[in-house]
């Protein structure tokens, strides 16, 4: 049995047409699955649906099972204790993901004390250990810092620490390095890989960057307009894409293999979506 089984998941916001339609995928224990697609394709909605954090006016139908437990329709009183413990999430924007008025160490330690009985000192020790694990220099100093006193890369590592400290089975990462500089991105990705290994957690990694995806994941889901159009092993999808949209994405992502100055292939060369009426297009 897979760790996460998503069956026929649809999500609609209010009375608008559904954002997600009939999503199916599974994630095995310890697997790393990349979810790729352009903005507005429904990647983040998928993540929030799994986390049970969709806004109240959204309706999700279908089935999401984590370790056999059905998550759709699960009351918050039962769902909340699972978050941060069985499954957790890392968001895109490290600048705003931490409470600006609370020391970051305390925010991490709270996650420990929220889910298990432990004394203040134990939680602190665990937190310091975890901060060290995510490669933060001088954990003691970071523990007592406020979010605005840390750099973007440091903050994102604190967020990683929060997501991983209770050793969850599944970590969902929503564009965790998009807001970071390239050199910092490399470090955070390395820290993420290392700690996923250490914890043995599975990962659903959401990104629009195929290169970043290829460095973390071993399976790929390609999302287009709220549906998954292609799924498979990383290598087979990347070397032998089946859907024209995937082919287009891959072609545009290979900027390093195009002669400088020559015409870049575009997605439109491979795949043209059915025409939309002008004026209703949602900007990128």
């Amino acid at each position: 049995m897979s760790l996460l089984e998503v069956r026929n998941l649809s999500v609609a916001f209010g009375r608008r047409p559904p954002t997600l339609t009939g999503i199916d995928f599974t994630i095995d224990a310890g697997a790393r699955v990349g979810l790729i697609g352009q903005s507005g394709s429904g990647k983040s909605v998928t993540a929030l649906a799994v986390m049970g954090l969709l806004p109240e006016y959204a309706t999700a139908t279908g089935s999401i099972r984590l370790g056999g437990t059905e998550l759709i329709g699960r009351p918050d009183a039962l769902f909340a204790p699972m978050r941060g413990n069985d499954l957790s999430m890392v968001f895109q924007e490290p600048m705003t993901a931490l409470d600006p008025t609370m020391k970051v160490g305390r925010q991490v330690a709270e996650v420990v004390r929220l889910h298990r009985k432990s004394s203040r000192e134990q939680a602190r020790a665990l937190t310091l250990d975890m901060l060290e694990q995510v490669d933060l220099p001088d954990p003691e100093q970071v523990y007592d810092a406020f979010a605005h006193q840390l750099s973007g890369g440091q903050r994102q590592r604190v967020v990683l620490a929060m997501a991983l400290i209770n050793q969850p089975d599944l970590v969902i990462c929503d564009e965790p390095t998009t807001a970071l500089d390239v050199t910092v991105q490399q470090q955070v990705l390395r820290v993420l890989r290392h700690n996923l290994d250490a914890v043995g957690a599975a990962c659903l990694f959401i990104t629009h960057d195929l290169a970043v995806l290829s460095q973390v994941c071993d399976q790929v889901l390609v999302m287009l307009d709220g549906a998954i159009v292609e799924a498979g092993e990383l290598k087979s999808v990347f070397t032998d894409p089946q859907h024209p949209y995937t082919r287009g994405l891959l072609a545009t992502a290979r900027l390093d293999q195009v002669a400088p100055g020559s015409r870049l292939p575009t997605v439109a060369d491979f795949y043209r979506r059915p025409e939309r009426t002008p004026g209703t297009e949602v900007a990128g």
Partner: protein
């Protein structure tokens, strides 16, 4: 293999020492204090100017509109009203600093003594109303925010919208009729000092406080609601939810700390409206507070009393705004350091 060296551009790893931080706060408190004093000075000038700029205002008022101009001038001379504006202003402010707020030309009462006497009534009224409004508004506003897409939240917002439109004095009049005249639960008007009879004191305050607070809480509900909605859309709230906090605890732990900043600002503004509301409500319930004192003085065109009372009210407003500024400095670690 620590990576802080290559972390984003020019941002050093962990910056700012505690010592320099404290010094910065002190300087900024002093700056705020300076701004407060300057505002008070300008406000007092405005008040004095409005009351004294037109020559003959006071004397004319004392002698009546049909008085002989020569008599008016003579009286001005006698009271020293024909001296330059700034001399008289200086005298007024100088007296203020030594605790002498002047003496009414009409009633020969000490302005300061009168104000001190009536201040308590208004303070009780405003204080109780503020607390009651908060007790109503915080839970109701939070509820309206959490259920904003739900009919219950919609109805709550609608009710607060309605409350916002009702004049407090009309609510007071209707309350007098309903509870004072028809049901006879509470006295319809008047005031009994606390020292005389605590039970009666409280009974006489119930209706004024409730009518003031009810309308006020409508305003507050809207602020609390929008502040909460703002927090709900913040990334750190989402983070808190993602690590396992339930809605209300997440709001309390992370939301309240951040929303309190905006709520504090609002409280400052609210006190202003409450003070003004109290002036009118005192009239509805015949409470002997600052409002009644002010209106009586206006009716008699007792300008010395008017300018003294208005100055005290404006001082209260400015003082609260100053305290709000200070609380900002203390509540938000980002503000403590920046600039």
């Amino acid at each position: 293999m620590a990576g802080s060296g290559t972390a984003t551009g020019s941002a050093p790893a962990v910056r700012g020492g505690t010592a320099s931080r404290r010094g910065g706060v002190l300087v900024r408190i002093l700056i705020r204090l300076g701004v407060f004093l300057a505002s008070l000075l300008v406000a007092s000038l405005i008040i004095f100017w409005v009351c004294n700029a037109l020559p003959g205002n006071v004397a004319q008022a004392m002698l009546g509109q049909s008085a002989d101009p020569a008599a008016v001038r003579a009286l001005e001379e006698q009271l020293g009203l024909n001296r330059p504006f700034f001399v008289r202003y200086g005298e007024w402010i100088g007296g203020m600093l030594t605790g002498d707020m002047g003496t009414s030309y009409l009633t020969h009462q000490q302005v300061g003594v009168q104000i001190a006497e009536k201040f308590g009534v208004t303070a009780w009224l405003v204080g109780f109303a503020m607390v009651l409004a908060l007790l109503i508004a915080v839970p109701v506003g939070t509820f309206a925010a959490l259920r904003r897409r739900h009919w219950a939240g919609f109805v709550t917002s609608g009710l607060s919208q309605l409350g916002l439109a009702i004049p407090a004095f009309w609510a007071g009049i209707m309350a007098v009729w309903l509870f004072g005249v028809w049901l006879r639960w509470f006295p319809a008007n008047g005031y009994v000092p606390l020292t005389e009879d605590p039970a009666q004191w409280l009974a006489h305050l119930v209706l004024p406080v409730c009518s003031l607070a009810l309308v006020q809480s409508a305003v507050l509900v809207r602020y609390v609601r929008s502040a909460t909605i703002e927090v709900l859309s913040e990334d750190y709230y989402r983070t808190a939810r993602a690590v396992g906090w339930r809605e209300i605890p997440a709001l309390l732990r992370h939301g309240l700390r951040n929303a309190s900043l905006s709520v504090v600002t609002v409280l400052g503004l609210q006190l202003t409206t409450l003070l003004v509301g109290a002036i009118v409500i005192e009239q509805v319930f015949a409470l002997p507070g600052l409002g009644s004192l002010l209106l009586q003085a206006v009716a008699q065109r007792d300008l010395v009393m008017v300018q003294g009372t208005v100055l005290v009210l404006v001082l209260a407003v400015l003082l609260v705004n100053f305290l709000v500024d200070l609380s900002y400095l203390l509540l938000d670690p980002r503000l403590r350091e920046r600039r």
